[in-house]
Symmetry: C2
Subunit: 381 residues, 2 copies
């Protein structure tokens, strides 16, 4: 008997304990197989990002096709995005870090879309000056990750509507209300800007083709919750003569409160923000990170901990411990009871704070170069 | 017993024999009264355009309020528009000519919106290069009417999305699907660009206020079929702190085939295009203009004609004979039988061809100044 899944994933809400294997079936995506990973490592001199090795990026659309095209000399460009919020958190780093790695390895051009319109349209309490402020702030975190200045352009929806709108309506003309109703759960009271919005998110996936006057393959690294947007996009683009964009899709970084659901900025105690200071990080991990350990040291030494439900371990696995052997040792020691919850948390705290120290430095420096990344910069006109 | 109205008016289709008095009730607009006309003529040194005197502009929203504001020193600006099509016809001249007269009399700034996006989104067979070509062609007719170069800016939706989109989403956020469904008859298969579009048409009615950083009254002369757009707009703008736009609304120029319905470019034999040559005009009027005359000359001399159903007479009344006394004489002579249908048609043919000869000359000259009218021109940046 099929078990009814008690989770829900849309671009606008994630709830329940997400079963990623079931989600693959639900969304109709394909798992990223060993064969595909070996193909990727052919182009990178054997290197394979740990988020690929560990299944943090676990599913895709048309990745094999994209590599076929690459084999035939058709270089792809990258597209990813950000719905700006007051503060970015470590969950946002997953697709961005993968995108940066792919840019480095494949020398790809990147279009980074800041969807301030989406944020504005989806939240009654925000006005455009809020989302503008969020956008300019979040861009600092993006630039801090080290994207190539030459090969990256950051596109802010409300600033770059001259580029976006005329292409968006070409796409919008092929999408009817019943499609977005089904894909995003819209209803009679959904505002008409939000109804239109998915066609704005679709544009970067054709933008290089529009500019070049020929089809250019596009790869979109993104969190799996964004798939409904690109599923709609992929249905439309062939009707306009464009390639469907390929994608690789990541799991969510679990909130500190437990391994189900998706980290959200609206619960600060369940999240590490990229601007948190070391003391705050230490406090949050110690106080809120859900532990897979035993109630007492004695029991823990005897029975060991469960890394599968331990948020600190999961964070190390997903992002903060790139070294597979070190990670394996942590896992083994935790399971055996040799490593206590407090010790595991200390390892994570040190990793996060070391990352954030460098990130926050680069974030400040990013203020000086922000204009160089914007699509409107002079030499792009 | 109330008589069921057998006509329908939306921005996207007009059918049946439009009863304008019933339409006023249906749309909830107000008739343009003698009192209002006398108020207008106070500002124009007693002059009152014949389209106002004769009820071609027959209904309004908030015209009294607009004049109150004017009395208190708040100048209004004008906004009108054009959904570009392959060719413009004489029906399009009605709101444009009124707008030009108001600009002359009140020294008003004018925003003229070219809604190429709307046209593209509403017609499956058109692509953006078609609607672009239509836009650039139709703009020639607009400029030919003699709008002030200094006080007029022509805004092309797909070219000026940088101005439009960020304001449109502020409006769109306050309009839900059920509202546009009711106002425009949308359904599940309506494309999401078209669903969003009304918020783009709304923007020029706040644009001067946005630019000035204070509320500036706006008057929109338009054909009555556009009222649903501005009804939706008017509901939203106060929520954003803006004045509702005022409007004056015109009847439709009847097609040559008869006094019901609305002239449409899709039936060339029922329409005079602004680029028709004199022979074509003569042929169309002689062959297709529905006559209120009698079957034979003898009967006509005896019984007289009916100007109310005679399209040639109606065209003279609506647009081509500004002189009230001359029009009255034509009406009297036609009713008495002194004026034959052929003679009435000759009067109209001469009037149209004389108008078109000058218009087509100015239309050609407009090619040289088109850039001066576009919103993107250098001194506006």
């Amino acid at each position: 008997m099929p078990v009814k899944s008690n989770f829900s994933v849309t671009p606008y809400s994630v709830s329940g304990n997400v079963d990623y294997q079931k989600l693959i079936k639900k969304f109709g995506t394909k798992p990223i197989t060993g064969t595909l990973l070996r193909r990727i490592s052919k182009y990178t001199g054997g290197d394979l990002h740990f988020m690929l090795r560990r299944g943090v990026f676990f599913t895709h659309r048309d990745l094999g096709w994209l590599l076929d095209r690459y084999d035939q000399g058709e270089k792809f460009y990258l597209y990813t995005g950000r719905g700006p919020s007051e503060r970015t958190h470590i969950g946002h780093l997953i697709p961005w870090t993968m995108t940066k790695w792919l840019q480095d390895k494949f020398g790809s051009k990147l279009i980074f879309q800041i969807t301030d319109d989406e944020k504005f349209l989806s939240d009654e309490s925000l006005d455009l000056s809020d989302t503008r402020r969020y956008a300019m702030d979040n861009i600092l975190d993006i630039i801090a990750l080290g994207f190539s200045k030459k090969k990256t352009e950051i596109l802010i929806d409300t600033d770059n509507a001259d580029i976006l709108y005329r292409n968006a309506i070409r796409i919008a003309k092929k999408i009817n209300y019943s499609t977005v109703k089904a894909a995003f759960g819209f209803n009679e009271s959904t505002n008409i800007g939000f109804i239109f919005y998915t066609s704005i998110q679709a544009v970067p996936s054709i933008l290089e083709s529009v500019r070049e006057g020929r089809n250019v393959p596009c790869l979109i690294p993104h969190g799996v919750d964004q798939d409904p947007h690109f599923r709609v996009t992929r249905d439309v683009l062939p009707k306009l003569g464009y390639y469907k964009p390929a994608s690789i899709q990541s799991i969510f970084v679990p909130p500190l409160s437990g391994v189900s659901g998706k980290m959200s900025s609206s619960d600060p105690n369940s999240t590490i923000f990229l601007t948190d200071d070391p003391k705050t990080v230490e406090m949050k991990i110690k106080k809120y990170a859900f532990s897979g350990g035993q109630p007492t040291i004695e029991e823990h030494r005897k029975l060991g901990g469960n890394p599968d439900i331990d948020v600190s371990f999961q964070w190390l696995k997903i992002f903060f411990e790139p070294d597979d052997r070190k990670l394996q040792k942590i896992e083994d020691d935790y399971k055996s009871g040799a490593l206590l919850t407090g010790e595991l948390k200390s390892i994570l705290i040190e990793k996060i704070n070391s990352f954030l120290e460098k990130h926050q430095e680069r974030r400040e420096k990013a203020r000086d170069v922000i204009q160089d990344f914007l699509v409107s910069r002079e030499d792009r006109k």
